[in-house]
Point group: C2
Chain length 342, copies 2
């Protein structure tokens, strides 16, 4: 079995991330990662008639740009895997419709980028696919109107609320030996997430709802593999934001795997500055996707980072479950990324 | 590579379906498959306070019953894969929350059962998971109120409309040699679906919208593998219903792979009788799930069927995309099921 411990998966071929692309919206383009994004789209409609269609265009543009940067076309990938926050993941479907390759739709809320990396890594490692394309997106406007209120209301937001990132990230994973020399990162191991729900019901405090799932995944990863936080140059959570970031630090301390604040970051805190008035930070499927597919992979390519644990977190609620008083199930999937030997 | 032709995947270990369970609602329990269902749930709330929670209970009960029938508990599976039609696949998430094992959420609309089989087969074949649990559900009441109108309106339905099946199906796939003697079916090959959209916009005629995707997948499967419809005891589509069933027959004729009506069935036409007044037939993620996990796998277990091509179809629209005048993207994923040698 290609497994170690309770639930960590080993990938003997260590599939390679051979290309990535990140598109971001105007506000994200005014943030600290501006220079790392492939493209900043100022128009929140991206030339389309609706925010949902705009989000689909974000996905499609990121996916095709990722392929182009590798000198490839959609036909060079054996499948597109991806999703988003919209009902019926319509942005991912509309994007995949234009690519004419097999499509596997995923829903892991804001953990979708990591879920797609998990699946694409196993499918390429096993030789079931040559290359697989992973894409995730979110859009502030489409998310607000679906999950919260019409933008025109100008609702007040509590300090624990996060700001949905407008953007899409895409990366191409290959299991082909001939692609390995151009690897940006190799993927040797994965730890899939279990749902953890400690009873948080406040949809304006999803960081707190997701942090226990993040701690569960990190602890299983360290215990399964016999590693510790200090074995990584960087440990990255998806979009816990300020509140969840601090809860995770505390939980990991309690569980005996304390994280070092100098090597732990949360994408929700990286994508905006505090001055951008996003309260607890960024969120959305696009949050971890654009951070990973821009600065993180650039730093791996430049050998500033050698060993990274990327973990995206998801809050698996729906508006209906919230209205029915349900608590928020959290999940977190993790993948190890290693810069190749050069 | 474990591939053949353009896009068909070969599974050298031929993972085994070692257990299955199907729960159905009252109307489905009055239909032709009544004797094949493990349990018929007369109460459409299944003892819960809402239809969404009832649907989650359908999923959880089917999943745990599937495991129990194999003498197993959730911890014996390395992951649960599944989804449903509800926004943010809340039924699948709430069900997986109770199982405390890794969860990979999928969205393929009514193709979800097949999508989960595809992924679970590759993950177990490659030794990344010992066993993986595939579950899909739908519920007439939760689907109607989310996609169409409040039930209390008593809307008129056009003849092309289909009736969302209330039910859940679950099956357990194993890649462990020691599990193979109890195989109900083995899975040697898969053909993942591409999105095909020929411009149908009528959300009351999803069979017609999905049939071209079904034809695309079937033709790729036959061409990739050098097989023909006559190589199968049965070819099964998910929920094309009467309209889509007839469109598929015509498309396959045109494309040079004519289907024999005596060995081609659609789950949407199997689950209800015409007298049950469901217009064009059944639909929903639960439709193909309950038919596969009851009669089809029972007939494979009894050697009445030896070689089956199971293909579930999905209409990847959302209410938002429909309201915005969008056309309906269709998809269809296929898996070959073979009764084991005895």
């Amino acid at each position: 079995m290609n497994r170690i411990g309770q639930s960590t998966i080993l990938l003997p071929r260590r599939p390679a991330v051979i290309s990535c692309a990140a598109l971001a919206g105007k506000k994200e383009g005014e943030g600290p990662l501006a220079d790392d994004f492939d493209r900043i789209v100022e128009d929140d409609l991206f030339g389309e008639e609706s925010w949902e269609k705009a989000e689909a265009r974000f996905q499609y543009t990121a996916a095709t740009l990722c392929l182009e940067k590798a000198g490839m076309a959609p036909k060079d990938a054996d499948a597109a895997l991806g999703g988003d926050l919209l009902n019926q993941i319509i942005a991912a479907s509309l994007s995949a419709r234009e690519m004419h390759i097999p499509f596997l739709g995923l829903y892991g809320a804001c953990s979708t980028m990591a879920e797609s990396i998990l699946l694409a890594s196993m499918l390429t490692d096993g030789g079931y696919m040559r290359r697989a394309l992973c894409t995730a997106s979110s859009h502030f406007c489409s998310a607000e109107r679906q999950y919260r209120f019409p933008l025109e209301y100008g609702c007040q937001r509590p300090p624990t609320a996060q700001w949905t990132v407008t953007g899409a990230g895409s990366l191409l994973i290959s299991g082909l030996t001939e692609d390995f020399p151009r690897a940006i990162a190799r993927i040797p191991a994965l730890t899939p997430g279990r749902i953890v729900d400690l009873g948080v019901t406040d949809a304006n405090n999803m960081g707190a709802a997701m942090a226990p799932a993040a701690a569960d995944t990190l602890c299983r990863h360290f215990e399964d593999t016999g590693t510790s936080p200090s074995d990584f140059d960087l440990i990255i959570s998806g979009d816990l934001g300020r509140v969840g970031h601090d809860v995770l630090l505390e939980l990991m301390q309690q569980k005996g795997h304390p994280l070092d604040e100098s090597t732990y970051i949360d994408c929700g805190l990286e994508v905006f500055t505090p001055e951008q008035d996003v309260h607890a930070g960024g969120s959305g499927c696009g949050c971890s996707a654009v951070v990973l597919c821009s600065r993180i992979l650039h730093q791996m390519e430049n050998h500033q980072l050698r060993r990274v644990l990327f973990m995206a977190t998801g809050a698996l609620l729906s508006t209906t479950s919230s209205q029915q008083g349900g608590t928020i199930p959290g999940i977190a999937h993790a993948a190890v990324l290693e810069a190749p030997d050069r």
